[in-house]
């Protein structure tokens, strides 16, 4: 004897008793949500993977400003071009790999916390320098130095000293203990071959904050910054420097490098991105619509088969509201089961897809997408079900005793007896007149299968 018997028990009992129909219904819901969730999760995985790859290669900053000590940084911030959580790298010296020429050289700098985080100097081995005399280098710098040195070894560097704009010709020799190796930044590799003024450099060596900066020269400070408005930041920066002639350098090179992440490529404008999103949203909406249609149809045919039961509940004294409540709970129970299942399947699919696409694609389930799809799914199921539920609540109590609905229909369609008839033909005709509207609903669903919308 079930001690705790409630409206949910009725709902559960119904699901128990109509397992076949409900498996179909669950299938429809799962499939619909699965498609939408897979698409959105895949898109978000692609977006995050691409962005993460960019960050790994270039760092998270939007812009690097060279020799920023000269720049009115404050104005860039107060005019809302840059956010104020920028990072500073104070350049200590420029390493001459062969001890004589600046070719293939690179600079070493003291990074503050923000700059380290933005520049994404991810540790590959060892640790970051903590004391004076310690250094961490980007991996390929070791090759440039033609040294076999490993973490723990001492490296001796020939350094050109910054003089405020450029580096002096006189050099200093200094030994450091190599405490860490960090990942290469492509930005550096891209640039090191071209003939650029040496001050226009992305430091590839990290010194500790305890390092004494000026070895008799003038400091050069590079700024790692983020645009306040990522989409228009680059243009604002350009305008800013065009409007400040005094900030322009002798050469035609810009005193900053734009490294922000853009979806797909630089040629994609904001509108393109917007259109891409819009396109995805439209596909999702079409899928959701098809899914809702499937749910409505499945529910309608399910309810058709249980008019007698609904009538009985009404005769026993269930109000229309209670009937909707009972059926609504069935939907919720269904949704509770099918939505997590669909999300799980979608996550698995996207996970294996990203796995198959290679290492640089990482599957990170976007919690917002998952919560959004779950909530939207629940809403859709309830909304879609509310249409047949409304109809179900209208079942008269008399339906429990005889099929009054059919009788009413029969009267409306003015059916008269035929004297001579072909049995299958007449039955087919009658079925059409009597169940027309219901068949229409069922007909609609295979004509709009969601996979065709893809």
């Amino acid at each position: 004897m079930s001690a705790k018997f409630s409206l949910s028990s009725i709902a559960l009992g119904n699901i128990r008793g109509r397992r076949r129909q409900y498996i179909l219904l669950t299938g429809a819901i799962v499939l619909a949500i699965y498609f939408v969730a897979t698409m959105l999760l895949f898109a978000s995985t692609m977006f995050t993977s691409l962005r993460e790859r960019h960050y790994q290669r270039f760092g998270e900053q939007d812009v690097i400003i060279f020799n920023a000590a000269r720049e009115p940084l404050a104005e860039l911030m107060s005019s809302g071009i840059l956010t104020d959580d920028y990072g500073e790298a104070a350049i200590y010296g420029y390493v001459l790999p062969d001890g004589q020429s600046k070719a293939n050289g690179f600079s070493v700098a003291v990074f503050d916390e923000n700059a380290l985080a933005l520049a994404r100097k991810d540790l590959l081995a060892g640790r970051l320098p903590e004391r004076a005399g310690e250094i961490a280098l980007e991996q390929s710098m070791l090759a440039r130095l033609r040294t076999e040195a490993a973490v723990g070894d001492t490296v001796t560097l020939t350094l050109a000293i910054p003089d405020g704009v450029n580096f002096k010709d006189s050099t200093v020799q200094k030994s450091f203990k190599l405490v860490g190796v960090v990942s290469d930044k492509l930005i550096y590799l891209d640039e090191w071959n071209s003939v650029l003024p040496v001050y226009r450099d992305f430091p590839a060596g990290i010194l500790s904050a305890a390092e004494e900066i000026t070895l008799g020269g003038k400091t050069v400070i590079n700024i790692y910054g983020r645009y306040a408005a990522p989409s228009s930041g680059f243009k604002q920066m350009l305008d800013f420097y065009f409007n400040h002639e005094e900030l322009q350098n002798e050469g035609s090179e810009l005193p900053f490098e734009d490294t922000r992440y853009v979806l797909l490529s630089d040629n994609f404008s904001d509108e393109d991105i917007f259109i891409t999103y819009l396109f995805l949203i439209i596909i999702a909406l079409v899928l959701v619509l098809a899914a809702c249609l499937g749910i409505i149809n499945a529910f309608t045919s399910n309810l058709e088969a249980r008019k007698q039961q609904l009538g009985l509940l009404r005769a026993v004294g269930a109000t229309k509201k209670q009937l909707r409540e009972i059926l609504g709970r069935e939907t919720s129970l269904l949704a509770l089961f099918s939505i997590p299942l669909a999300l799980l399947l979608a996550s698995l699919t996207v996970w294996s897809l990203t796995k198959a696409m290679g290492e640089s694609y990482i599957f990170r389930p976007n919690i917002l997408v998952i919560i959004g799809v779950a909530a939207a799914g629940l809403l859709c199921v309830r909304l879609a079900a509310s249409i047949p539920l409304r109809a179900a609540a209208k079942v008269p109590p008399m339906q429990a005793i005889r099929n009054v609905e059919l009788a009413r229909k029969m009267r409306k369609s003015k059916i008269v007896s035929q004297q001579l008839f072909d049995v299958p033909l007449l039955l087919a005709k009658r079925n059409r007149t009597l169940y027309q509207s219901k068949q229409l609903g069922i007909k609609l669903s295979p004509s709009v299968p969601f996979w065709k919308c893809l």
């Binding site: 079930s2 109509r18 004294g317 005793i401």
Partner: protein, 230 residues
């Protein structure tokens, strides 16, 4: 004279069938007292079921009124009528009485539950015992015999301690002996609970045991024995 618990005034019911109309009930005026046991007899198609449905608020009359304790039944809205049905009326139909997906016990509890009341365990177990259903409570209706199903239906009809029990040939699907058993149970519980029983039956023998017999012919009451001692 006792105040009638249920009465109807000049009730007519017409059904449209194609071009024709069927006059199922003609100017029926009748009243029932609290605790009365009344059998409605009549040939097939005479309008017995129709009368019962209208008295029970399941179907609307074409013209005329039905009063439950001087309240016009059909002046109620759908919601109020539903609540009245589950609190004051009990129904036992000829067949398909039970929700197939719920166990016997859950079926019995259904009206109590819809009323959001705490089940009166003592009363219910007494009911279950009288109807001999103790061993069958966890069965689904499909696993019960026709007689057992009707007994579950009777228990459900009485679960909310209604004041009127409507039964439309509750034994129509049962063999003679089982039918008689079910009917005497129905009569017995009605007397025990002081419930008014309005019973449609073909069985003359059963009808004879009722306090009052009404004969319906072609939509009209042609005989009314009135309440008498049996």
């Amino acid at each position: 004279m006792v105040m009638p618990i249920l009465r109807c005034l000049q009730v007519n019911k017409k059904y449209a069938v194609g071009e024709n109309t069927v006059h199922a009930l003609r100017d029926i005026t009748i009243s029932f007292e609290q605790g009365e046991i009344c059998a409605v007899r009549g040939p097939s198609g005479s309008g017995k079921s129709t009368l019962l449905h209208i008295l029970g608020g399941l179907e609307y009359p074409t013209t005329g009124k039905v009063y439950y304790q001087d309240e016009d039944l059909f002046a109620y809205n759908d919601n109020q009528l539903s609540i009245l049905r589950r609190r004051r009326f009990g129904f036992v139909f000829q067949a398909y009485n039970l929700v197939q997906e719920l166990t016997a016990y859950e079926n019995i509890l259904l009206p109590v539950l819809l009323d959001k009341k705490k089940p009166d365990e003592k009363y219910l177990s007494m009911l279950i015992e009288i109807l001999g259903l103790q061993q069958r409570l966890d069965h689904l209706p499909s696993a019960l015999s026709g007689g057992q199903q009707q007994r579950v239906a009777i228990a459900r009809a009485l679960a909310n301690k209604p004041s009127i029990l409507f039964a439309d040939e509750p034994t129509g699907n049962l063999d003679g002996k089982t039918g008689r058993e079910v009917l005497s149970l129905l009569k017995y519980v009605s007397i025990e609970m002081g419930v008014t029983l309005i019973l449609v039956t073909h069985d003359l023998h059963i009808a004879e045991q009722a306090e009052r017999i009404i004969l319906l012919e072609d939509g009209c009451i042609t005989e009314d024995s009135g309440r008498r001692e049996v």
